[in-house]
Protein backbone atom coordinates (compact mmCIF):
# COMPACT_ATOMS: atom_id res chain seq x y z
CA UNK A 1 0.00 0.00 0.00
CA UNK A 2 1.09 3.55 -0.61
CA UNK A 3 0.29 5.01 2.82
CA UNK A 4 3.19 7.11 4.08
CA UNK A 5 5.09 5.57 6.98
CA UNK A 6 4.82 7.82 10.05
CA UNK A 7 7.57 7.37 12.70
CA UNK A 8 6.43 5.62 15.90
CA UNK A 9 7.72 8.56 17.96
CA UNK A 10 5.16 10.86 16.30
CA UNK A 11 2.34 8.58 17.47
CA UNK A 12 3.70 8.48 21.01
CA UNK A 13 4.12 12.28 21.15
CA UNK A 14 0.53 12.67 19.90
CA UNK A 15 -0.73 10.31 22.62
CA UNK A 16 1.15 12.26 25.31
CA UNK A 17 -0.41 15.52 24.01
CA UNK A 18 -3.87 13.87 23.99
CA UNK A 19 -3.45 12.65 27.58
CA UNK A 20 -2.21 16.09 28.68
CA UNK A 21 -5.18 17.77 27.00
CA UNK A 22 -7.55 15.36 28.80
CA UNK A 23 -6.04 16.37 32.15
CA UNK A 24 -6.32 20.02 31.07
CA UNK A 25 -10.04 19.58 30.20
CA UNK A 26 -10.75 18.22 33.67
CA UNK A 27 -8.64 20.93 35.35
CA UNK A 28 -10.34 23.76 33.44
CA UNK A 29 -13.79 22.36 34.24
CA UNK A 30 -13.13 22.99 37.96
CA UNK A 31 -12.12 26.65 37.51
CA UNK A 32 -14.93 29.02 38.50
CA UNK A 33 -15.93 30.52 35.14
CA UNK A 34 -19.29 31.46 33.60
CA UNK A 35 -21.11 28.28 32.36
CA UNK A 36 -20.86 29.34 28.71
CA UNK A 37 -17.06 29.66 29.02
CA UNK A 38 -16.88 26.13 30.43
CA UNK A 39 -18.76 24.72 27.46
CA UNK A 40 -16.57 26.74 25.07
CA UNK A 41 -13.34 25.59 26.78
CA UNK A 42 -14.43 21.94 26.89
CA UNK A 43 -15.45 21.90 23.24
CA UNK A 44 -12.33 23.76 22.07
CA UNK A 45 -10.01 21.27 23.76
CA UNK A 46 -12.13 18.36 22.49
CA UNK A 47 -11.94 19.74 18.93
CA UNK A 48 -8.16 20.04 19.25
CA UNK A 49 -7.93 16.44 20.44
CA UNK A 50 -10.24 15.16 17.71
CA UNK A 51 -8.19 17.03 15.08
CA UNK A 52 -5.01 15.32 16.27
CA UNK A 53 -6.68 11.88 16.18
CA UNK A 54 -8.11 12.44 12.69
CA UNK A 55 -4.93 13.93 11.20
CA UNK A 56 -2.32 11.64 12.75
CA UNK A 57 -3.98 8.44 13.99
CA UNK A 58 -6.48 8.20 11.11
CA UNK A 59 -3.76 9.27 8.63
CA UNK A 60 -5.98 11.99 7.15
CA UNK A 61 -2.83 14.07 6.70
CA UNK A 62 -1.55 11.66 4.04
CA UNK A 63 -4.95 10.70 2.61
CA UNK A 64 -6.16 11.38 -0.93
CA UNK A 65 -8.12 14.55 -1.67
CA UNK A 66 -11.34 12.57 -1.93
CA UNK A 67 -11.01 11.64 1.75
CA UNK A 68 -10.46 15.29 2.59
CA UNK A 69 -13.69 16.12 0.74
CA UNK A 70 -15.64 13.65 2.92
CA UNK A 71 -14.09 15.04 6.13
CA UNK A 72 -14.70 18.69 5.21
CA UNK A 73 -18.23 18.05 3.93
CA UNK A 74 -19.23 16.17 7.09
CA UNK A 75 -17.88 19.03 9.24
CA UNK A 76 -19.73 21.56 7.04
CA UNK A 77 -23.03 19.65 7.36
CA UNK A 78 -22.58 19.43 11.12
CA UNK A 79 -21.96 23.19 11.28
CA UNK A 80 -25.14 23.87 9.28
CA UNK A 81 -27.12 21.62 11.65
CA UNK A 82 -25.68 23.32 14.75
CA UNK A 83 -25.71 26.94 13.57
CA UNK A 84 -29.29 26.89 12.28
CA UNK A 85 -30.59 25.17 15.41
CA UNK A 86 -28.75 27.41 17.84
CA UNK A 87 -29.72 30.63 16.08
CA UNK A 88 -33.09 29.72 17.56
CA UNK A 89 -32.16 28.33 20.98
CA UNK A 90 -29.43 30.84 21.85
CA UNK A 91 -31.54 33.87 20.94
CA UNK A 92 -34.72 32.90 22.79
CA UNK A 93 -35.66 35.70 25.12
CA UNK A 94 -33.31 38.09 23.32
CA UNK A 95 -36.28 40.12 22.17
CA UNK A 96 -38.74 41.49 24.76
CA UNK A 97 -41.65 40.61 22.53
CA UNK A 98 -41.59 38.37 19.48
CA UNK A 99 -43.35 40.03 16.55
CA UNK A 100 -46.62 38.28 15.83
CA UNK A 101 -46.98 36.81 19.32
Amino acid sequence: MSTKLVPVNTYIVVLVILLALTVLTVAVSFVPLPPADHVAAGLTIATLKATLVVLIFMHALHSPRLTWCVILVSIAWLLILFSLTYTDYLTRGALPQMPGH
Binding site: M1, V39, A46, M58, I71, T85
Partner: protein, 243 residues
Protein backbone atom coordinates in the same frame (compact mmCIF):
# COMPACT_ATOMS: atom_id res chain seq x y z
CA UNK B 1 20.14 -22.45 -15.49
CA UNK B 2 16.67 -21.63 -16.80
CA UNK B 3 15.78 -18.55 -18.81
CA UNK B 4 13.84 -17.21 -15.82
CA UNK B 5 16.95 -17.35 -13.66
CA UNK B 6 19.02 -15.48 -16.21
CA UNK B 7 16.42 -12.75 -16.66
CA UNK B 8 15.50 -12.12 -13.00
CA UNK B 9 17.46 -12.12 -9.74
CA UNK B 10 16.21 -14.26 -6.86
CA UNK B 11 14.75 -11.19 -5.08
CA UNK B 12 12.93 -10.11 -8.21
CA UNK B 13 11.50 -13.58 -8.65
CA UNK B 14 10.24 -13.57 -5.06
CA UNK B 15 8.69 -10.11 -5.49
CA UNK B 16 7.01 -11.29 -8.67
CA UNK B 17 5.69 -14.41 -6.94
CA UNK B 18 4.38 -12.37 -3.97
CA UNK B 19 2.74 -9.90 -6.31
CA UNK B 20 1.07 -12.65 -8.33
CA UNK B 21 -0.11 -14.37 -5.14
CA UNK B 22 -1.51 -11.11 -3.70
CA UNK B 23 -3.17 -10.14 -6.95
CA UNK B 24 -4.76 -13.57 -7.21
CA UNK B 25 -5.77 -14.02 -3.57
CA UNK B 26 -6.64 -10.51 -2.36
CA UNK B 27 -7.45 -8.36 -5.38
CA UNK B 28 -11.15 -8.19 -6.23
CA UNK B 29 -11.78 -8.23 -9.97
CA UNK B 30 -13.38 -4.77 -10.18
CA UNK B 31 -10.16 -3.03 -9.07
CA UNK B 32 -7.14 -2.24 -11.19
CA UNK B 33 -4.62 -2.74 -8.39
CA UNK B 34 -4.31 -3.37 -4.65
CA UNK B 35 -3.72 0.34 -3.82
CA UNK B 36 -6.85 1.15 -5.83
CA UNK B 37 -8.81 -1.44 -3.83
CA UNK B 38 -7.42 -0.24 -0.50
CA UNK B 39 -8.15 3.42 -1.22
CA UNK B 40 -11.71 2.58 -2.22
CA UNK B 41 -12.24 0.58 0.98
CA UNK B 42 -10.87 3.42 3.12
CA UNK B 43 -13.04 5.93 1.25
CA UNK B 44 -16.10 3.75 1.90
CA UNK B 45 -15.32 3.77 5.63
CA UNK B 46 -14.87 7.57 5.64
CA UNK B 47 -18.30 7.99 3.99
CA UNK B 48 -19.82 5.65 6.59
CA UNK B 49 -18.13 7.69 9.35
CA UNK B 50 -19.67 10.85 7.85
CA UNK B 51 -23.12 9.30 8.45
CA UNK B 52 -22.02 8.44 11.99
CA UNK B 53 -21.04 12.10 12.50
CA UNK B 54 -24.63 13.06 11.68
CA UNK B 55 -26.01 10.34 13.97
CA UNK B 56 -24.02 11.39 17.04
CA UNK B 57 -24.21 15.06 15.96
CA UNK B 58 -27.97 15.21 16.49
CA UNK B 59 -27.59 13.77 19.99
CA UNK B 60 -24.94 16.37 20.88
CA UNK B 61 -27.24 18.99 19.36
CA UNK B 62 -30.01 17.94 21.77
CA UNK B 63 -27.75 18.18 24.83
CA UNK B 64 -26.79 21.69 23.69
CA UNK B 65 -30.39 22.70 23.06
CA UNK B 66 -31.53 21.66 26.54
CA UNK B 67 -28.46 23.30 28.05
CA UNK B 68 -29.52 26.56 26.32
CA UNK B 69 -33.03 26.25 27.80
CA UNK B 70 -32.08 25.35 31.38
CA UNK B 71 -28.29 25.54 31.91
CA UNK B 72 -28.43 25.35 35.71
CA UNK B 73 -30.64 22.25 35.84
CA UNK B 74 -28.51 20.46 33.21
CA UNK B 75 -25.36 21.34 35.18
CA UNK B 76 -26.92 20.00 38.37
CA UNK B 77 -27.92 16.76 36.60
CA UNK B 78 -24.45 16.42 35.02
CA UNK B 79 -22.91 16.72 38.48
CA UNK B 80 -24.48 13.38 39.46
CA UNK B 81 -22.63 11.57 36.66
CA UNK B 82 -19.36 9.88 37.54
CA UNK B 83 -16.71 12.09 35.89
CA UNK B 84 -13.85 10.11 37.42
CA UNK B 85 -14.84 6.86 35.67
CA UNK B 86 -15.61 8.91 32.53
CA UNK B 87 -12.12 10.42 32.71
CA UNK B 88 -10.40 7.07 33.24
CA UNK B 89 -12.31 5.72 30.24
CA UNK B 90 -11.10 8.67 28.14
CA UNK B 91 -7.50 7.71 28.95
CA UNK B 92 -8.21 4.01 28.25
CA UNK B 93 -9.64 4.79 24.80
CA UNK B 94 -6.81 7.18 23.91
CA UNK B 95 -4.20 4.52 24.75
CA UNK B 96 -6.21 1.91 22.80
CA UNK B 97 -6.07 4.26 19.79
CA UNK B 98 -2.27 4.29 20.05
CA UNK B 99 -2.26 0.47 20.14
CA UNK B 100 -4.43 0.39 17.01
CA UNK B 101 -2.19 2.80 15.13
CA UNK B 102 0.89 0.79 16.21
CA UNK B 103 -0.77 -2.38 14.86
CA UNK B 104 -1.16 -0.68 11.47
CA UNK B 105 2.38 0.65 11.67
CA UNK B 106 3.64 -2.89 12.33
CA UNK B 107 1.65 -4.11 9.30
CA UNK B 108 3.30 -1.41 7.17
CA UNK B 109 6.75 -2.66 8.13
CA UNK B 110 5.60 -6.31 7.88
CA UNK B 111 6.00 -7.35 11.54
CA UNK B 112 3.01 -9.68 11.72
CA UNK B 113 3.58 -10.91 15.31
CA UNK B 114 3.59 -7.28 16.51
CA UNK B 115 0.38 -6.60 14.57
CA UNK B 116 -1.24 -9.51 16.41
CA UNK B 117 0.02 -8.33 19.79
CA UNK B 118 -1.10 -4.71 19.30
CA UNK B 119 -4.53 -5.81 18.06
CA UNK B 120 -5.02 -7.92 21.18
CA UNK B 121 -3.96 -4.95 23.33
CA UNK B 122 -6.46 -2.73 21.47
CA UNK B 123 -9.30 -5.20 22.03
CA UNK B 124 -8.19 -5.70 25.65
CA UNK B 125 -8.35 -1.96 26.34
CA UNK B 126 -11.77 -1.90 24.64
CA UNK B 127 -12.96 -4.60 27.06
CA UNK B 128 -11.41 -2.59 29.90
CA UNK B 129 -13.47 0.44 28.75
CA UNK B 130 -16.66 -1.64 28.77
CA UNK B 131 -15.90 -2.97 32.27
CA UNK B 132 -15.52 0.59 33.62
CA UNK B 133 -18.71 1.51 31.75
CA UNK B 134 -20.57 -1.41 33.36
CA UNK B 135 -19.32 -0.33 36.79
CA UNK B 136 -20.48 3.22 36.09
CA UNK B 137 -23.91 2.04 34.92
CA UNK B 138 -24.23 -0.05 38.09
CA UNK B 139 -23.41 3.00 40.25
CA UNK B 140 -25.97 5.03 38.25
CA UNK B 141 -28.53 2.30 38.91
CA UNK B 142 -27.78 2.39 42.62
CA UNK B 143 -28.10 6.20 42.64
CA UNK B 144 -31.53 6.22 40.93
CA UNK B 145 -30.33 7.85 37.72
CA UNK B 146 -32.50 5.91 35.28
CA UNK B 147 -35.56 7.99 34.33
CA UNK B 148 -38.68 5.90 33.76
CA UNK B 149 -37.16 2.89 35.54
CA UNK B 150 -35.34 3.89 38.72
CA UNK B 151 -35.72 7.58 39.38
CA UNK B 152 -36.74 9.54 42.47
CA UNK B 153 -38.12 13.03 41.89
CA UNK B 154 -38.03 13.87 45.62
CA UNK B 155 -34.25 13.37 45.62
CA UNK B 156 -33.85 15.99 42.91
CA UNK B 157 -36.08 18.46 44.73
CA UNK B 158 -33.89 17.99 47.82
CA UNK B 159 -30.85 18.71 45.60
CA UNK B 160 -32.36 22.11 44.86
CA UNK B 161 -33.97 21.44 41.48
CA UNK B 162 -37.37 23.11 41.09
CA UNK B 163 -40.13 20.46 40.85
CA UNK B 164 -41.36 22.00 37.59
CA UNK B 165 -37.92 21.57 35.98
CA UNK B 166 -37.32 17.90 36.75
CA UNK B 167 -38.29 17.14 33.15
CA UNK B 168 -34.96 18.66 32.07
CA UNK B 169 -33.10 16.32 34.44
CA UNK B 170 -34.94 13.35 32.94
CA UNK B 171 -34.20 14.43 29.38
CA UNK B 172 -30.52 14.99 30.16
CA UNK B 173 -30.25 11.57 31.78
CA UNK B 174 -32.13 10.02 28.86
CA UNK B 175 -29.60 11.59 26.48
CA UNK B 176 -26.76 10.37 28.70
CA UNK B 177 -28.01 6.77 28.52
CA UNK B 178 -28.69 6.98 24.78
CA UNK B 179 -25.34 8.53 23.89
CA UNK B 180 -23.13 6.42 26.15
CA UNK B 181 -25.23 3.33 25.30
CA UNK B 182 -24.81 3.78 21.55
CA UNK B 183 -21.14 4.58 22.08
CA UNK B 184 -20.69 1.37 24.10
CA UNK B 185 -22.43 -0.52 21.27
CA UNK B 186 -19.89 0.96 18.85
CA UNK B 187 -17.03 -0.06 21.14
CA UNK B 188 -18.45 -3.62 21.27
CA UNK B 189 -18.66 -3.81 17.47
CA UNK B 190 -15.12 -2.38 17.31
CA UNK B 191 -13.79 -5.05 19.70
CA UNK B 192 -15.32 -7.82 17.56
CA UNK B 193 -13.86 -6.27 14.38
CA UNK B 194 -10.41 -5.93 15.98
CA UNK B 195 -10.52 -9.57 17.18
CA UNK B 196 -11.49 -10.73 13.66
CA UNK B 197 -8.49 -8.79 12.35
CA UNK B 198 -6.29 -10.47 14.99
CA UNK B 199 -7.44 -13.91 13.79
CA UNK B 200 -6.82 -12.95 10.14
CA UNK B 201 -3.35 -11.66 11.08
CA UNK B 202 -2.62 -14.96 12.82
CA UNK B 203 -3.63 -16.79 9.64
CA UNK B 204 -1.15 -14.76 7.61
CA UNK B 205 -3.81 -12.81 5.75
CA UNK B 206 -1.93 -9.49 5.75
CA UNK B 207 1.40 -8.20 4.51
CA UNK B 208 3.13 -4.86 3.98
CA UNK B 209 1.48 -4.72 0.53
CA UNK B 210 -1.99 -5.64 1.71
CA UNK B 211 -3.52 -4.68 5.06
CA UNK B 212 -6.58 -2.76 3.88
CA UNK B 213 -9.13 -4.40 6.29
CA UNK B 214 -6.80 -3.52 9.16
CA UNK B 215 -6.65 0.09 7.98
CA UNK B 216 -10.44 0.32 7.71
CA UNK B 217 -10.95 -1.24 11.16
CA UNK B 218 -8.47 1.31 12.51
CA UNK B 219 -10.48 4.20 11.05
CA UNK B 220 -13.62 2.89 12.77
CA UNK B 221 -11.83 2.40 16.09
CA UNK B 222 -10.36 5.92 16.07
CA UNK B 223 -13.75 7.40 15.21
CA UNK B 224 -15.26 5.72 18.28
CA UNK B 225 -12.46 7.38 20.26
CA UNK B 226 -13.26 10.78 18.70
CA UNK B 227 -16.93 10.46 19.73
CA UNK B 228 -15.86 9.81 23.33
CA UNK B 229 -13.48 12.80 23.22
CA UNK B 230 -16.57 15.00 22.72
CA UNK B 231 -18.89 12.95 24.97
CA UNK B 232 -16.66 13.39 28.00
CA UNK B 233 -16.83 17.21 28.34
CA UNK B 234 -20.35 17.44 26.87
CA UNK B 235 -21.92 15.11 29.46
CA UNK B 236 -19.60 14.68 32.44
CA UNK B 237 -17.90 18.04 32.92
CA UNK B 238 -20.83 20.45 32.60
CA UNK B 239 -21.31 20.91 36.33
CA UNK B 240 -17.92 20.14 37.92
CA UNK B 241 -17.18 23.87 38.49
CA UNK B 242 -19.94 23.77 41.12
CA UNK B 243 -18.02 21.24 43.23
Amino acid sequence: MSLKDTLFTEAEQKALFDHTFLARERLEEQYASLPHQSETAAFGMWVFLATEVMFFGTLFLSVGAYWCLAPEVIERASLELNWIIGGINTLVLLVSSLMMVLAIHSAQINRQSDVYRYLLLTAGLGVCFLCFKALEYYIDYRENLIPGFKFDEAEWVSRGVDASQIGYVKIFLFLYWTMTGFHALHVTIGIVAVLVMAVLTRRGHFSAEYYSPLDVTGLYWHFVDVVWIFLFPALYLLGTHRL
